[in-house]
């Protein structure tokens, strides 16, 4: 019998992109048990929202995540609009969906690169991230920002899509579609990729249901759920698309689902632009939001995002609760890793497309608030502090850098 060994992966680990801790108990090469700990990115956003006005909270919530920022802001704003009984103009709904799909494209391409990198297929990483630039540029063109687009305002959107921009979107979508066809081909025909990902991180349909897997992770185990279809919001009720599922139940299935979802997103974007109704972009929103409670759901690139907002009739929310898709998928990961190889741990974790910033929300430097003044350092002091710190604690001498600075 082989000896059991516990290997801590995280909270800070080269294989993880964000802090999370996985204590892996190994029996030989295989994972016997796994203990997951998240929460390192908890930043107290929910509490912070209670101290800010609804409008300020919108900007805060948008910053829950850098990748799916539009998902969180739309989800949150939908809840506010329900409370205030605002009906947004159709054109605004279409633009929200449009940005939402562009965000999904950039997120899925990002994932494809990360996943390819985790299995040592760096050519695919370079390809997909190069193509991702196309959609990032589009988002910058449409909203002025590559991330945190801030296109939503309470009651609609803040920016229109002009005819020229429409043409540019369509041209870019054509290029992206051509590229994605190649990725579909890679995912379905490239033997190395199929062999590497098949039967890795397996979670059966029943287990995926039991552990509440959402989004592409759930859909790759045959769970046909998509908020865009089940609980339509923005303009999704008016476009035609297919909910992609797969029955491989492994990392390979998750890759196939995401790549095929890209193709659906292109089709959705074309339909949205074709039908884009004329009219105003927003309605006037009241400063005080009537008392009440609302639940809003949104299909983020990683799965169901749900926000609960309670208002007490003032301009500040009484309670804001956010549940990002990764929180729903974290428990499935433990199941997926069971009995797998240690070497597969990074790709299995990456396969749910984890976003721990979303999961944990935020704490606004709680530890430092009481002594905020003395803790604030200017650039020069900070550099001197770090040079001294490294000299004292790590024995590395950066004094030369100090001189260069002057």
């Amino acid at each position: 019998m082989s000896k059991k060994v516990v290997i801590p992966i995280g909270p800070q680990h080269p294989a993880l992109k964000e802090p999370a801790s996985f204590d892996v108990t190994l029996k030989g090469e295989r994972v016997a048990d796994i203990l997951v700990k998240v929460g390192y990115n908890h930043r107290g956003i929910e509490k912070a929202c209670e101290e800010r006005t609804f409008l300020q909270s919108v900007y805060l919530v948008e910053r829950v995540c850098g990748i799916c920022s539009h998902s969180h802001s739309t989800c949150f704003i939908q809840a506010i609009e329900e409370l205030a009984n605002l009906k947004i103009p159709p054109r605004a709904a279409y633009i929200r969906s449009l940005i939402g799909e562009l965000e999904r494209i950039h997120s899925h391409l990002l994932w494809l690169g990360v996943a390819a990198h985790e299995i040592g297929f760096d050519t695919l990483l370079m390809y997909s991230w190069r193509d991702r630039e196309i959609v990032m540029d589009l988002l910058a063109l449409l909203t002025g920002n590559r991330v945190n687009y801030a296109v939503n305002v309470i009651g609609g959107v803040r920016k229109d899509v002009s005819e020229e921009e429409k043409d540019q979107i369509l041209k870019a979508v054509d290029i992206l579609e051509e590229r994605t066809k190649y990725y579909v081909q890679v995912a379905t025909e490239e033997v190395t990729l199929i062999e590497r990902l098949s039967k890795v991180g397996y979670i059966s349909h029943e287990d995926a249901l039991k552990y509440g897997a959402v989004g592409p992770t759930g859909r790759a185990s045959g769970i046909k759920r998509d908020i865009r279809k089940d609980d339509p919001y923005a303009a999704y009720g008016e476009v035609d698309f297919e909910v992609i599922t797969d029955d491989h139940c492994d990392v390979y299935g998750r890759a196939v689902v995401r790549v095929k979802e890209l193709m659906q997103s292109y089709s959705i974007i074309r339909q949205l632009l074709k039908k884009l109704p004329q009219g105003p972009l927003s309605v006037v929103a009241p400063r005080l939001i009537p008392a009440g409670e609302a639940v809003s759901r949104y299909e983020a690139p990683r799965g169901e995002d749900i926000h609960f907002v309670k208002s007490n009739g003032t301009d500040k929310p009484e309670r804001v609760k956010l549940r990002a898709p990764t929180l729903a998928n974290v428990q499935s990961v433990a199941k997926m890793l069971e009995d797998g190889y240690l070497a597969d741990v990074p790709i299995v974790i990456a396969a749910i497309d984890p976003c721990f910033s979303c999961t944990d929300r935020m704490i606004v430097a709680v530890n430092n608030v009481s002594t905020a003044k003395e803790d604030r350092m200017d650039w020069k002091t900070l550099r001197e502090f770090s040079i001294d710190w490294y000299k004292k604690n790590r024995g590395v001498d950066f004094t030369k850098l100090k001189k260069l600075d002057k």
Partner: protein, 164 residues
């Protein structure tokens, strides 16, 4: 697909002894408040018999004179049923639902960590989401909590590695 009104009506008739209040807010949104005494019975009925078998999340609220826990459940056809149950101010507690939904574990730990609502029957495990050295008895989502109440002593012991 049944409308929210039809669902609310049906639940009201079938489970009148469990339900304190029920309303259909709009299409696909139903809110129900259940009697804490019959929480498990009503919860199980809604999940197993009425088809609200997807747990989206659990929200905990501080209502000043009491606490409230809301279980946001959904059905396959996209209807969200939010089940509210109250817990008293002193020693608030709710039973765990991890036997039905293992995925509820993190949400229930959040209730314990952020609001200090005791979840009975929840297995021992690592806390979430606060740090392991967070002072005892400090529940940041309670309305009477603010940053100045953070225990200074504990804070000093864990000042982010400044005095390393």
């Amino acid at each position: 697909m049944k409308t929210a009104n039809e669902i609310a009506q049906k639940l009201k008739e079938t489970y009148s002894s469990y339900i304190l209040d029920i309303s259909a807010q709009r299409e696909r949104r139903v809110w129900v408040e259940v009697d804490p005494k019959y929480f498990r019975e009503s919860f199980e009925s809604f999940v197993l018999k009425e088809g609200f078998s997807i747990l989206s999340t659990i929200s905990g609220l501080d209502l000043k004179d009491k606490f409230q826990v809301i279980y946001h459940m959904s059905s396959e056809d996209g209807v969200v049923l939010s089940i509210k149950v109250n817990a008293e101010r002193e020693n608030p507690s709710v039973p765990t639902i991890t036997d039905l939904f293992p995925a509820a574990e993190l949400s229930e730990r959040e209730l314990e960590d952020l609001l200090g609502i005791n979840v009975t029957g929840l297995i021992q495990g690592r806390r979430y989401p606060l740090p392991d050295n967070w002072p005892k008895g400090q529940y940041p989502l309670r309305k009477d909590w603010n940053i100045s109440m953070l225990d200074k002593k504990t804070e000093k012991e864990t000042d982010g590695g400044k005095n390393e």
